[in-house]
Structures are given as C-alpha cells and as structure tokens.
Symmetry: C2
Subunit: 437 residues, 2 copies
C-alpha cells in the first residue's frame, strides 16, 4: 500500500451500478475517492417496477450511497448534479440547490447513466411518466392506484372504462415487467376492494413500435413471454407507433398504417433511453463521437480519446454495441477502478475491456420468467426462482434482503401490496394533467 501526502484523486460521477462498483473496487487503493450524485441513494433500478406497483418501499431499493460506503475511509460522497466537466483544468462542476462547486480530479470515472427518452416528444412525459427514478415510481404508484379510486367514483361505464385502461409503452424488460405486475395487482391485490366494478376487468395494453417484445432475447423465450402475458389477459400491440399522448389516452399508428386511438387514463413510458447530457459535453471537448442516444464512443479501455485519465462507463458509454444493463455498468466500473490502480503501480499497458455476459432475465408475472445464459434458456417457475435468487443476492444490504423477501412473500404467495399509499405529490401531478381537459 503506497500512501503519500497528496494522494491520487479519483472523482466518480454517478452512484448507479457503474459508479458504485468502481467506488467499491477502490476501497483499498491508495487514492482519495469522491462520489457525486444528484440523489442521496443508490437505486436498484431492476426492481423499480415493483415499487411503482406497490410491492416494495423506497428504502428497499434505494439505500443511501454514503451508508453503503461508510467504511471506505478514503471515500467521500457529495450530493449534487454534475453539470459540467472541464477536461483541460481536470475539474467537474457540481450544483446543489443553487450552490455550485468545482472538484478537481487526477482520474475521472463518468458513470452518469441515462434517463428516459421520449424521442423528441418530451411533452408526452406530463401524461406518461417514465420508469427511471424513485420519483417516477412514486408518481406511477399514485397514478395506478389512483385510477382505480377514480373508477369507483365514475357514474357510468363510458367514464369508468378509460380509468380501468392502463397503457404501457415499450415492450423491453421494464415494459413487460410493469405490465405483468399491473395485470396481477388488478386480478389479485385489489380483489373485493371495489363496489362499483370488478378490478379484474382492467385492461392492460402493452405497445411497442418494434414488431417483437423483449428484442434482446432469443426467439423461443420471446414467444414464451408473449404467451404468458396473453394468458394474464394483457393486450399486446406490436409494430404500433405512438404518435400522441394526452390526458385521456394515446394516438397510435397500427402495422397496417391505420390511425387508432386507445382511451387510457394511465400511461407508463418504458420505451427509450437517452444518455446524460454530460456525454455531449465530453464529446465536444475531446472530439469523441456521440451517438443518437447521447452515448460517448470510447476507446477499447473505456477512456476518452486523448484523455487516458477519463473513463466513461455504463449506460453513457458506447463500446462494441454493449447493452445498457446493470452488468455492463458494474463490470466496466470495476474495470476502470482496476485500470487506475494498475497505472498507479506504474503499469501503463493498455488492456481492452472485455464484457463477460452472465445472462439476461425478465420476469413476466409471479412464477413466470424467462432467462438466458449463453446456450441455456429457461422459462416458467424455474426461471422465476432463478430471478428471485439472483435479485435477492444483488440487493444491497441484509435488511433490504429480508424486507424484500417478506414483501415478496406477501405479494406473490399472498395477495397483499404493502405499498399502496398515494401521496399529495401524485394528486397534484394528476390535477395538473386534469387542467388540460
């Protein structure tokens, strides 16, 4: 362990899977680490859909970053949004509620991730919240459970039906998972809760512009997921483009070219991602290419051209067509950390980042999932159990594992949804939407 008065300073932008993996890998390195994020938590994004549908609480999937890293004596965590990087001066600028500060680095790991993309139609977001943040999930939770509340107040069927129709745009893993959970909660969790209608009649419509669901999965598993979703009663409309979103529903263009309309008061947007705006700033200054989704083309060692001290990892990185999944973020984060340590030891040989694909899984409903590891394909209850074990293992913190397992027992073996609280925030959001009528 070398140590000196002025230690090598590593700044990590982002406390998602990539940033956190890098920080953890640097625990015993002779460096001072600063982790900067605009939230106080590490978000376990793959379970966000369960928070949106009432299975889990915020704390279960969003432990405080500084608590996770509390035993990393040489690591500090700062709350703030990194609004700029100065590659010349080797400084990042962070902002927190109007206060701005600059933090100097010797090595920089940019793991700022990606947000929701509405493909140039940001106005859709007012009516169709995304699935990227704790606030998105809180708002969706309020909208989903609130829609059933308003259906109970409806005087006639024509008023009630749009409240009982939920449209999910995007049929990747997130869209499939959230659609499945909404169908399940309407069939099971809400049983006996209403007097004016049967919540099991709720329509869940899953849409995608592409002509398949789960495009990253092999054909056999796609077919299986398609069948499982249909058995749950979910209507699947593929090769269908969304051309408008408003308070009352969606305008679509169907595969035959005809225009259509889906009356749905509740919309969930799980369709596209757009990398952090920091990508564009890094591209401008370094000359690195930035793709349509805002991702930065990095060298084989995940660094910016001409800036070996700057690593861009995870969802913000464009390299070898790697997908924007947690596993890529974590592996590239650990890789960047190891590269920094090697260089400090005087080893400047470039080793290319190699991604080891550990498999992909998506859960369709309780006891139903699809999973895929190289040649191995699994579906049904076995895949679901696998999904359960893997997600429990990756959750941060023993307490969160116990609490999550308890909530899953209640939700999947029982019929409960422990987290159905609607907060004012969401009522306001809906009222805002209502003003458009």
């Amino acid at each position: 362990m070398s140590s000196s008065i002025s230690r090598h300073r590593v700044v990590i932008v982002g406390s998602g899977f990539g940033g956190l993996a890098a920080a953890k890998a640097l625990r015993r390195a002779p460096v001072d680490v600063t982790v900067i994020d605009r939230t106080n938590h590490h978000l376990f994004q793959p379970l966000l859909y369960q928070m949106a549908t009432g299975v889990l609480a915020e704390g279960d999937i969003a432990p405080p970053t500084r608590d996770i890293l509390r035993r990393h004596a040489h690591t500090r965590v700062l709350l703030g949004e990194v609004v700029d990087v100065d590659l010349e001066a080797r400084e990042v600028t962070l902002e927190t509620i109007g206060r701005s500060a600059r933090v100097a680095y010797d090595s920089l790991i940019v793991a700022a991730g990606a947000g929701q993309s509405y493909f140039g139609h940001d106005e859709f977001g007012l009516h169709a919240p995304g699935m990227k943040t704790i606030d998105d999930a809180l708002e969706l939770r309020g909208r989903i459970f609130g829609a059933f509340e308003l259906a109970e107040l409806a005087r006639e069927k024509s008023e009630r039906d749009p409240w009982l129709t939920i449209a999910v745009v995007g049929a990747g893993p997130t869209g499939v998972e959230v659609a499945g959970q909404i169908a399940e909660l309407s069939r099971r969790a809400l049983k006996r809760n209403f007097r004016g209608f049967d919540p099991a009649q709720a329509r869940v419509v899953l849409l995608d512009a592409v002509d398949t669901l789960l495009p990253s999965f092999p054909e056999s598993l796609r077919r299986r997921a398609h069948r499982d979703l249909e058995r749950l009663g979910i209507e699947i409309e593929l090769a269908t483009r969304v051309t408008g979103v408003d308070e009352r529903g969606l305008d679509v263009v169907r595969p035959d070219g005809s225009s259509g309309r889906i009356e749905a008061r509740t919309k969930v947007w799980a369709a596209g991602v757009e990398a952090s705006a920091l990508g564009a700033r890094l591209g401008e200054q370094s000359g690195a290419a930035v793709d349509r989704a805002g991702r930065v083309a990095v060298l084989a060692d995940c660094t910016l051209p001409g800036h070996p001290e700057v690593f861009v990892i995870g969802d913000l990185m464009s390299l070898n067509h790697l997908p924007g999944v947690a596993e890529v973020a974590m592996q590239s984060g650990r890789y960047a950390a190891r590269s920094i340590v090697r260089r400090l030891r005087g080893d400047n040989a470039t080793r290319a980042f190699r991604y080891r694909d550990l498999g992909t899984m998506a859960t369709v409903a309780r006891f139903r999932a699809v999973a895929w590891f190289g040649p191995v394909r699994v579906a049904g209850p076995v895949a679901w159990l696998l999904w359960l074990v893997v997600h429990l293992a990756f959750l941060t913190g023993f307490k969160n594992r116990v609490a999550t397992l308890a909530s899953w027992t209640v939700a999947f073996l029982g019929r409960g949804r422990p987290e159905r609280t609607i907060t004012e925030q969401e009522v306001f959001a809906r009222t805002r939407g209502q003003a458009h009528q």
Copy 2:
C-alpha cells in the same frame, strides 16, 4: 338481522381512528356504509414521526382504507374531500380533482379530524412542515437527511452549523418523540457517513411556549422525560415563544422577555392543532358552539344539537375536555356506530358517551419511554417495551406488524434507518424555500 330494499344509509367522513372504528363496528349492522376520505389510506398517526426519521415506510403506517374494509360487503370507500354538509337536505358534498358529487345520508358520522395549526402564522409552514400527513413526513424526511447532505458540502463551520441544527417546536408527545428520534439518528444511524464533520455534533433544540414538556403527563413522568431528553443531548427551551420562522432559523422570545435567534435550517412544527373546517360549517347550520381550535360542542351523546342523526367524533368533537388522542376517537366512533344500530332497533333512549381512559404513553428514545395508566406510572425500558407491544398490537394488518418489528429491530438494536430516500418532491420544497434567501 333486518334487511330491506332501501337500507339505512350511514355516511362516515374521515378514515382516521374514529371513522375506521365506526365503520368496523357497523360491519354486521343492517346499514349501507359510505366512508369518504381525501386520502386512500388509514394513517397510523402515532408512528408518523418514525416515518419522518427514516425508521418506517409509508406502507407500514398507511394501509389502504378500502383494503382494510374489503370484507365489509355493505361498505364502500370513496376518495374525496368533503367540502360541505347540508344538514337540511341530509347530503354531503365531496370533491375529487375537480369533480364534485353529493352523497345522501340517513345518519352521518363526522370524523374529519384536525390538521396542523400555526396559530395564525400559516407562512411558518413553508419552512417548518407539520407532522400530520404522509406528505409532511416525506417532506421532513427529506429535509432532515438533506440537511446533513448540505452540511457535508459546507466549506466552513459558520455555514455548516445551521445545517446541523434542528429545531422542533412543540414539546407534547409528537415533539418529544421526533426530537428524540432525530438525536438518535444523528448519534447512531449516521455514524461514519460523513467526512467533513461528526453527525453526532448535530444540535437538536426542543421549544415550547408552555413551561413544561408533555403537559398532559403527571409531574414525575415529565421530569423523567426531561432528564432522558437532556441525556440524549437535546437542548430544551421551555416558556419560549416562537415569533418568526424563516429559511435560516427561528426568532424567539425567551422566559426573561429577551428576544433571541436560533440559526436552524431544519424546523419541525409539532405545536398546535386546528380542527377541520367542516366544524365551522356544522356550527353555522346547527347553532352548535365552535371553540377556538375549531371543535364542535356536541351533546352528551356526541350528536349535534337538534340533529340526532349527526354524530361529531374524535378530534373534531368538543366534549368534557376530552383530549385529541386516538383512543377518544376510536371509542367515540364505536359509540356512534352502536347508537345508530340501537335506534334502528327502536331503542331511542339517550345514553351519554363515557370515555374510558386506557392510559397515555410517549417514547423518548430507544429503551426510554414514559407511560401512565390511572395511578400506575412507568418509565424507562419497561415503559418502552410496553409502548412497543401496544403499538404493534394496534397497527393494522399482520404484514405491517412483521415489517414494523423488522424495521424496529434494525433501527433500535442495530443502527440502520431503512428509509432514508430523499425524493424530488422534497428537493423542490427546499429549493422553494431557498428562493427566499
């Protein structure tokens, strides 16, 4: 069980302790019940301070009212704010996001409760959130944990200290409990979380205009609670009036008449309550007296003068100087339900409502509480255990009991605070405050 085509209609306004107790007591009665509340949940208010300080999640203390009542076949639950009561027409008017509806009753139970009172200074609320709703607790959670985040960003002590000072206004049970929990979290839960300061240095100041804390408790228990709070390091300023609240702190007038100033970025208001505005409407129409706190003077059987079909119960009722506690609300709710059933059986004899005082308790910190049942007074670990058992017993739902016990184990035996997630909602609230600088 008598039953007829047009059953007797009971409308219950409010799903707090009083309203819910009334609804439950009517389960097997030959009546149709409508419960109306502006939230979708029954709030277990006595544990709200634990949500605000990161121990519990929303779902633990706010289960959906309609789920609690799902097996009450003749009970429906409507989401809406009751904005008016028409005693002549026997109808209530409810509003939900711009939609308005009237609901007719044969018997009415008004259990609309009380909100926070700033004693004519509602502008204090912008900087000092109350402790009455789930949203209050979410906002306070964000402000409390957010203050430590901002302390870590401070460049010097003069900037940091106000972020590390938390003022709690009001030294009744809620104020005592929230002050105790904030002190504990700063001493234990945040250990090792910061690099620029020691969170145990945080100052917690508990203020009250009255010259004692816990005024409803016997002298010996007050002294004990006072000593326990001081041992936790809490500064107690009694007989101290708050004359101003702003972004940066509080203006106070101390017992010697001198003006003072407490620099505290985080303020919690637990000082006063004000009954629902429905109280005033009922007073206007019936001629019943309405006291300064907005409570309606009812007859000995909890009904409005001249309106035996209208019961006013819980925090909205003024009767025999009964305190605004859960037990009064529950007992008066059950009493109103029984009165309605008796009358339907043809028994119109008036029986006065008699409150059976089952005791009072307040928890100061982990392993420290005070409790009081008639002549019996208990303090310390025994009172704390009693507090724990009683609160677990009264929580609604088996799952919530298990989850809460798990969270308590983590928080009180361990050092964890499972719920520390700060949401955008709270950041916005703070930014709003910040604009005043």
